[in-house]
Amino acid sequence: MIKVTGLEFAYRQSPGKAIKGISFDIGESEIFGFLGPSGAGKTTTQRIIIGLLRGYRGSVEVMGKERRSWGKDIFEKIGVAFDFPNLYEKLTAYENLDLLGSYYKNNSMNKDELLNSVGLLADRDKRVEKFSKGMKMRLNFIRSVMHDPEILFFDEPTSGLDPVNAKIIRNMILDLKNRGKTVFLTTHNMNEADYLCDRVAFIVEGTVPVIDNPGELKIKHGQKTVKVSYAGDEKPREELFPLAGIGRNSEFLEILGQDSVRTIHTQEATLEDIFIKLTGRELL
């Protein structure tokens, strides 16, 4: 659905390149996470693909056609939810969907159902200026899917949401994938990426050193260990053992034999640990 090859981009007002020859492709019904710290080039790449930045070098194909060759019709097929909820503040939730929905050929989705799906049906006639940030983000999210697009771009979609609503949004993203939609997710929330994405790309200083499945990354780069917490002579203690050969590890077996074990957990590297390990950068 999206094929980026040798993409380079420089802002006019800045001397260096913001994007330095990155390549990746995203298939149908894939959730692709684009992860990196602020200023790494996440949003720049997303804006180039959406078509909000021109003058790139290399190739950006969207649905088999070079991005610069697409006209405005592409927006019938893609949906965008920015990290900032850009809504008509003086209009109601329903009016926001209704007015902007009227710009699309496909305006058949039931807006009340959409509002209901994110718990906003009771607030459909309330002015958006009275909404909390979380409510605005949910409205922002459903507005991006209301024309049933093929590709969706989400920038920090759960930012500012409480855990319950964040879960609702994450489930909706998974549901979109199950319906065959492609999702380009920009985030610096590694847990969210781990939970949602089929593949993730790490972007640092305009380059993409790593693209892989989160599970694979953990296997390849994570050190599997077992953490045992047990009652010591005077105070509780914790020990870390390599998972490999754990059944033959005498020290580990000795602790088990003391009958004082409180908990045993296998330890897995998080995506964030792997990001730091591979890029040498923190996700700020």
Partner: protein, 230 residues
């Protein structure tokens, strides 16, 4: 049709933001004040007022509109919908020009009466208003706050208002006809005080051309803004 929907969106936005309420009040004040003018002044003062306010209301309102849309981030979203740049701009031009025509008709009927060239008056107000909405957009696009707009618009306003003094008449004052504002003002005056058909046609054609030229230019300005961060 997208453009009709965009027009509806703009009208609803303008109503909710209180634009129309403010303008109804302003029009009412004009009606009261102009109604008290001595009869012999009316054919001079009313065209001047119609030119400087209803015709130019779009210039002031477009700044406020674009600033509100920028602050709320709505422009940022509109550019990722199928709405074309020209449709977006025309919706604003049409909605604000309808407001200008409505105010013109109300003020004229209440303070002057029926005895004037209505066709020419409405044509003139339409052409001036649309030109000024596009013109105001050029200023608004470079601003981030409403205060900034009110300061930056001053030189732009001077550029189109000062040449209007050429109507007083002095050597070579005809050269100022090159300014669309002067051509527009002469048409408005012509609607009240008479104008020969040749001059009226020339000013109309010139204003049409000026509108087309500025529309194309503003479309490019809008596209540039959309692709460089709204």
């Amino acid at each position: 049709m997208r453009i009709v929907n965009a027009l509806k969106a703009d009208v609803r936005f303008q109503i909710k933001q209180g634009f129309y309420l403010v303008y109804v009040l302003l029009t009412f004040i004009y009606m009261v004040i102009l109604g008290k003018l001595p009869q012999e002044w009316k054919s001079t003062v009313i065209p001047l007022v119609l030119f400087s306010d209803p015709s130019m209301v779009g210039f002031f309102f477009i700044g406020a509109l674009v600033m509100l849309e920028k602050v709320q981030g709505v422009i940022q979203y509109v550019v990722v919908t199928p709405l074309r740049s020209m449709e977006y701009l025309l919706a604003k031009v049409v909605s604000l020009t309808i407001l200008a025509i409505a105010a013109t008709v109300m003020i004229t009927l209440a303070t002057y009466g029926y005895d004037l060239n209505w066709f020419l008056l409405i044509l003139a107000v339409t052409l001036i208003s649309s030109f000024f909405v596009f013109y105001g957009f050029i200023v608004a696009v470079r601003c981030t706050t409403l205060n900034q707009y009110f300061i930056r618009m001053i030189p732009y306003l001077m550029l189109i208002i000062l040449p209007c003094f050429s109507l007083i008449g002095f050597p070579y004052s005809w050269m100022f006809n090159i300014f669309p504002s002067v051509a527009g003002l002469k048409l408005v005056f012509g609607a009240f005080n008479g104008i020969d058909i040749l001059s009226a046609s020339a000013y109309t054609v010139y204003l049409l051309a000026a509108n087309l030229a500025i529309a194309r230019y503003v479309e490019q300005v809008f596209d540039r803004m959309a692709t460089e961060g709204a």
